[in-house]
Symmetry: C2
Subunit: 336 residues, 2 copies
Amino acid sequence: MPRNRQNEGFVLQKIVEGSRSFQSREFRHSVPLGIGDDAALFRSKPGHEMVLTCDWFLEGTHFLLRKHPPDAVGWKCLARAVSDIAAMGGAPRCFLLSLALPESHTGRWLGLFLGGLRRASRKFQCALVGGDTTRRNEILINVTVVGELPTGLAVRRSRAREGDLIYVSGALGGAELGLQSLRRAKGLASRNSPLLNNHLYPEPRLELGRWLAVRKLATSMMDLSDGLSSDLASLCHASGVGALLESGKIPQVQIPHDFSEHGTNPLQLALHGGDDYELLFTVPARKAKLLPKTFLGVALTAIGKITPSRKVLVVDEQGHATQLMPRGWDPFRKKL
Amino acid sequence: MPRNRQNEGFVLQKIVEGSRSFQSREFRHSVPLGIGDDAALFRSKPGHEMVLTCDWFLEGTHFLLRKHPPDAVGWKCLARAVSDIAAMGGAPRCFLLSLALPESHTGRWLGLFLGGLRRASRKFQCALVGGDTTRRNEILINVTVVGELPTGLAVRRSRAREGDLIYVSGALGGAELGLQSLRRAKGLASRNSPLLNNHLYPEPRLELGRWLAVRKLATSMMDLSDGLSSDLASLCHASGVGALLESGKIPQVQIPHDFSEHGTNPLQLALHGGDDYELLFTVPARKAKLLPKTFLGVALTAIGKITPSRKVLVVDEQGHATQLMPRGWDPFRKKL
């Protein structure tokens, strides 16, 4: 770990010890030098290019210290960065962790955080190889993930073409529903609540992303992190196209009884809720028959098509079309 | 730039526009996809391995908003991360910028910050390829640098051996002297003060690091970021050795008259002052004659030798040896 000073002692020692079990044997060849030096070394496979991404995960902005269990913070800070690798069709390989925290959180909180991070690291086969630690009055996390994929196969968000079908994986709105539930409950959330699971422990669609890239099925792809209305607007903007969605086709999360009393609308959750980390991708109409209904148990649903108009419209079941404005997560407009 | 949302609008647009001029033609082949997608793509040269590092640069911890000019913040946040690449013998290739800032700083401050960052990016030939932005009440910066070097040539900090000579580049203590001067002055520091130059605009020793690695002259190397007393302790700890320094040989910065009145001791600055970003390295005695006195105008000075004792001792000009305790920068012990 760069800046791995003796005197940062107990914090770094915990992370370094934790990191050993993050590193599977397969990774030892590709990472000849991990934590403990000025920088880490990584060897890319021949014929592959690397995928680079980083993500903030900040107390008060991306998680609430009094509500989010520390191991969910550990899991999610890595999962959301890994999701960007999935969205290119890549396989995650290693990550750097930058962590700033108060001295009061270098004991139990840090231990639980590293537990969640370690589970995510193993699950995504992505080894901790370096980072930076410092003291701060709030918990600040930044994660950089390095992934890999065969040269030339990366799926960009800028290549959607008129007539392509628009797909999403899974059901949308579950993470937003979990966030609403978490906000209403008192104290630290339970790690085992099914309602909170999508919000606390998202699962990036790595296998799906890779399969779509290697089979060259998707013309464009991105992950749903801010909410469908905002992310589809970004994809269309990058591709210079528009979209027509059918609201009846958008896969929505099921809302429990006590929630529907609060006026929670499943379509609104699916359109604007963030943090689902499902994949949004486009497929040429002639290739649509090659897509299964589900992939490793995750539904793949066509929700509309790409248009040349540069607008995103949504048609309801009565055939009324309205323009869909981006109303998902925007850090410069609202806070958590 | 990952999470490059339309709605983060003006912040991202500024960074994206700025980044175009960061990217020289040589880099276009190795970076087929930069800012604007879920992740960036990077192609490593055949026969090379990658060097990965990241660094915090936080308001109040690493810089003071009322004292540090925004373009120095931009320069230094990249320079210090690039210095970790120099310390392995690598060449920087590209970087990711994570930036959190208040809406009030998205105008003039951001423009000046990007100006300093752009100058550093050009100077170090290190292109901005991605990152993450968010809103926050304080300015938080994290920089990840990806470098490259021929496979197997990286210089670690763990391979110093008994009898090796210990070298430093440049003179030590200049950045700490600048920090003391900056603290005493009122208001924003001048960009052009020679006394502040080492503190505000450090120059990582990229050419020297690379030359030592490619010629296989250094057995171990690291950059001086926390101060000689702390960094040499880290190098010795990693190598399982000790060191004997000669205080009279340590190259010290010159202290202006008005500073010596404050009791500033140049040897103490050189031993414990941080942020110099010079290189600390060890060379087998038989190879010492291959080292020039200066390299590209920067002095190379032998300041002692590696011992088997696991202690770091410093001998003064009267021949008295005392143990040198690590008293450089430690974020868990003190703040800026």
